[in-house]
């Protein structure tokens, strides 16, 4: 009996007194906002980089004129540089550089900085996932599209990318889960996300158990929902098989 009373007391003290639960709900909103826009940015960036990389790797470069060849080699080099730098350094460092170096002298919304940092970070991983999807499509598909009279870009859009996307949905889902959880480092630039919210409660109440478990549970529920949505998408896309 004593135990349950204690639990109840702890709960009230951590979440109800002084409306402390708002640290969690406000934080959750920030986490959702940052994750959502970072995912969108990651997809956009990733697909573009993936197309650049696979176009460079799959096409016969001797067919391009010298200027075109120089151009594709240049943007391919820049893409590789981006991939290596982003995947080769910790996300926390990237976030800190974004806030304290790149936007140091500008007074800017921290959430925006976080979206930018996480979006650029996720883009590198999405790029490699999507590229693996494009490379997995038989080159006969591209040839069939081209032989009907579609140009390279339209064949990509109508024929190659939809199939590539279908193949990489599970891997993309995984990347989104990682990104969602990775936003928990937002506190490093004093942005009050879910993790930071829980941490603030702990600082006020001096009890770690309740706020941290609550934050963990919220992350878990979000990931399960995301996983469910991705599985549904996967099933829908598999209808043609």
């Amino acid at each position: 009996m004593d135990f349950w009373l204690n639990i109840k007391d702890e709960f009230l003290r951590n979440f109800i007194t002084g409306s402390r639960w708002e640290y969690l709900s406000d934080g959750l909103m920030v986490t959702l906002r940052v994750s959502f826009f970072a995912v969108l940015m990651g997809i956009a960036l990733g697909v573009i980089i993936a197309i650049i990389r696979s176009t460079h790797d799959l096409s016969d470069l001797s067919r391009f004129n010298p200027l075109g060849r120089f151009f594709i080699n240049l943007i391919d080099f820049l893409s590789k540089l981006y991939l290596n730098v982003i995947r080769g350094t910790p996300t926390v460092i990237q976030l800190l550089i974004m806030y304290y170096v790149i936007f140091a002298s500008i007074n800017i919304d921290k959430a925006f900085v976080a979206i930018l940092a996480f979006g650029i970070n996720s883009g590198a991983y999405v790029a490699e996932i999507v590229r693996s999807g494009i490379m997995s499509i038989d080159r006969g598909q591209m040839e069939a599209g081209r032989s009907l009279g579609f140009n390279y870009v339209r064949t990509m859009c109508y024929i190659v990318l939809p199939q590539a996307f279908k193949n990489v949905v599970p891997a993309l889902g995984n990347e989104f889960i990682v990104l969602l959880k990775e936003t928990s480092i937002c506190g490093y630039i004093a942005l009050q996300d879910l993790t930071r919210g829980a941490y603030i409660i702990r600082g006020i109440t001096y009890s770690a158990f309740m706020p941290l478990i609550a934050a963990a549970l919220i992350y878990l529920i979000m990931v399960l929902c995301l996983d469910y949505l991705m599985k549904r998408l996967e099933r829908r896309l598999r209808r043609s098989e």
Partner: protein, 245 residues
């Protein structure tokens, strides 16, 4: 058949790295002709066919289609490919689309046909090859022979001036070869200009207006089926025929 030249090939060269696959091939294909290309595997016959619509780009030489040089970089090849249907060994249907969508995609997107009209055309063609009831199926639900028949009518839907066949029956189970060849024979009878790379000697004998024998990257010999099979001249062709017939 008339004398209008549809495709003219001049001194075609193609290499893959160090391997020289085509070593100077020239020919003319007239409207209404059914040209069958045979030769040992690895001789460059598929490469030659793929050079005709520039799926492979030759290093040297020229290809003219309907009087226009398509090997010229200034030519918009996408425009001319719409008039050159191609059928592949591996069918290459789009697996994420229904048969109907496979057939109407290029019609609606490239020829800007309204959807209903494109579907009407597609249905008529599917009926011709006996697959009208499969319009809403996906390629994975079809047999190899059915897939290839769809691939043929998908190319035909664009109303091409020439059809290129790259070993259309080589990936098929033996009992399905017949149904595909039947469609091709019908097509030849309707007057379509065709260039066919194949190992089906029976088809060549029966349908071809001209047979070309490629070996080691050059045209060794060509002729009508009668002279080709009845009176082969080069030793290489005699040797080849003795192995395949």
């Amino acid at each position: 058949m008339n004398d209008e030249i549809l495709i003219k090939v001049e001194n075609l060269h193609k290499r893959f790295g160090k391997l020289e696959v085509l070593k100077g091939i020239s020919t003319e294909i007239k409207k209404g002709e059914v040209v069958v290309i045979i030769g040992p595997s690895g001789c460059g016959k598929s490469t030659f066919l793929r050079c005709l619509n520039l799926l492979e780009e030759p290093e040297k030489g020229h290809v003219f289609f309907e009087g226009i040089e398509i090997t010229d970089r200034r030519t918009d090849i996408n425009l001319h490919r719409q008039k050159m249907g191609m059928v592949f060994q591996q069918f290459n249907l789009f697996p994420h689309m229904t048969i109907m969508r496979n057939m109407t995609l290029a019609l609606t997107k490239l020829q800007k046909l309204p959807k209903e009209k494109a579907q009407e055309q597609a249905r008529a063609l599917l009926r011709k090859v006996g697959l009208e009831d499969r319009a809403d199926s996906y390629p994975s639900q079809l047999s190899g022979g059915q897939k290839q028949r769809v691939a043929i009518v998908r190319a035909l839907a664009m109303n091409p001036d020439v059809m290129l066949f790259d070993e259309p029956t080589s990936a098929l189970d033996p009992e399905m070869v017949g149904e595909v060849l039947e469609v091709m024979k019908e097509l030849a009878k309707s007057g379509m200009t065709m260039v066919v790379v194949t190992h089906e000697m029976g088809f060549a004998r029966e349908v071809a207006s001209r047979i070309m024998f490629i070996d080691e990257g050059v045209f060794m010999e060509e002729g009508s089926p009668a002279e080709f099979f009845g009176n082969p001249k080069s030793a290489r062709l005699k040797d080849f025929l003795s192995k395949v017939l």
